[in-house]
Amino acid sequence: MTPDQYFRFQFDDGTLLVDVVRPVSQFAGNDLVSDMSNQLKDCSEESVDAIIVDFEQIDYFGSMLLEALRILWRTTGVDSQRMKLCNVSSVGREILSLAKFDTLWEVCATRDDARQALCNKDQKPA
């Protein structure tokens, strides 16, 4: 991880796993967006079928991270039901709920729950 890195992207069989690896200052805007844009470019040849964003390493965040989530979702073009958030603190859940982002993307307790929620979605009849 470099000092200006906020996210760690990994691919797992079509699912983009995004770890938020350090607290996001509201004044990191340009660096934050650049980091996300660069990492999205690096994986532009991969086909993103689903996204899991893991918040385990941060306690809270503000509108800047909400904006980064919106950019991630818009740029990848993933269906909102195929994007899951996990390991969100109670204050983080409150913030997502205030912005009503929890109505866009399901908030799961753990990464395993998020994977399971994606699998369940896969198994449901069309």
Partner: protein
């Protein structure tokens, strides 16, 4: 009489440490066999110091340090480390443990380490008692010139201040931090640099590029953000003022309206209004006053008297 809580799942090690500390007849020794039992004991009566093993069932030493830091921040924790527990001990020190003693050195170092930690803790508690119980009002004022890197430092300082004052529990401290960041973001980007968040919705890179260029040209470059802070025993008040032309907060779209969910505007103000008890703008719209009343949330352990 200082009270020392010894936490270890090994009865033999508990007795060994307890025996060494009982050599000072002033010490009162209590025991717990794991982290959960220790927390239950502490909630009845917080000790003056906790001495804990690292590897235990139910709640290990690191988890115990984290819980004590959150719920009893004035109670120091000393670790007993054994071969193989170095990594977890380093994490526990990062998490706020006060010191450590290798188990193989208990005989030579334990009493001295505990005494040293108790003396430091006594000073901390005295200061905390003074600040939390005797301070009636404190004010501070900042002028932040055009250096955005100072703003996170200010927020950190203000968060530490409210922690020291004991006004809020951990969750409310986070909420205040979020609201302050949003107010300062608003003052910097939308106030002093006069950049609309509508640009961010359409082209976020152009938004930040414009911010960078405006921060180097007049009139934007010489504008400051002024922050006045007042703490009393019952409330914290923050006034954030920029030197921009101001804006009409009522003109912002409701970010929770389903039609606006995908827009950037208004989320910061929503967070401010939700996390503070009062948010008030001046008529020009370039100054916001944020007030947070004393927390109803449990504020972690009030200072206790200690006799070292």
């Amino acid at each position: 009489m200082p009270t020392i809580l010894i936490v270890d799942d090994s009865a033999m090690d508990r007795e060994l440490a307890g025996g060494l500390l009982r050599k000072n007849p002033a010490n009162e020794i209590r025991f717990a066999s794991d982290g959960l039992q220790a927390l239950a004991d502490m909630s009845e009566r917080p000790p003056d110091v906790v001495l804990t093993d690292m590897q235990m069932p139910n709640l290990n030493g690191l988890e115990l340090v984290e819980r004590i830091r959150a719920d009893f921040p004035l109670v120091p924790v000393v670790l007993m480390t054994a071969r193989g527990s170095e990594e977890i001990a380093v994490s526990a020190l990062h998490a706020g443990a006060a010191s450590y003693v290798p188990k193989r050195s208990l005989k030579h170092s334990l009493a001295e380490t505990i005494e040293r930690v108790l003396i430091a803790s006594c000073e901390d508690r005295g200061m905390a008692t003074l600040i939390r119980n005797q301070l009636t009002c404190t004010t501070s004022a900042f002028e932040l010139t055009n250096d955005v890197s100072l703003i996170p430092a200010l927020i950190t300082y203000l968060r530490h201040s409210i922690e020291t004052l004991g006004l809020y529990g951990e969750s409310d401290r986070m909420r205040v931090g979020v609201a302050l960041e949003e107010a300062l973001v608003n003052a910097y980007y939308h106030g002093n640099l006069e950049i609309s968040s509508e640009l961010r919705e359409t082209d976020h890179q152009a938004y930040y590029e414009l911010a960078r260029s405006r921060s180097q040209i007049e009139p934007y470059a010489s504008r400051s953000i002024y922050v006045d802070v007042e703490f009393t025993p019952n409330r914290a008040t923050y006034v954030v003022r920029d030197e921009g032309p101001g804006f009409d907060p009522d003109a912002l779209p409701d970010p929770t309206d389903e039609e606006h969910l995908d827009r950037s505007s208004g989320r910061g103000l929503l967070l401010m209004r939700t996390f503070m008890d009062e948010v008030r703008f001046n008529a020009q719209g370039n100054e916001v006053t944020l007030t947070k009343l004393r927390s109803r949330e449990k504020v972690a352990s009030q200072p206790q008297k200690v006799e070292a």
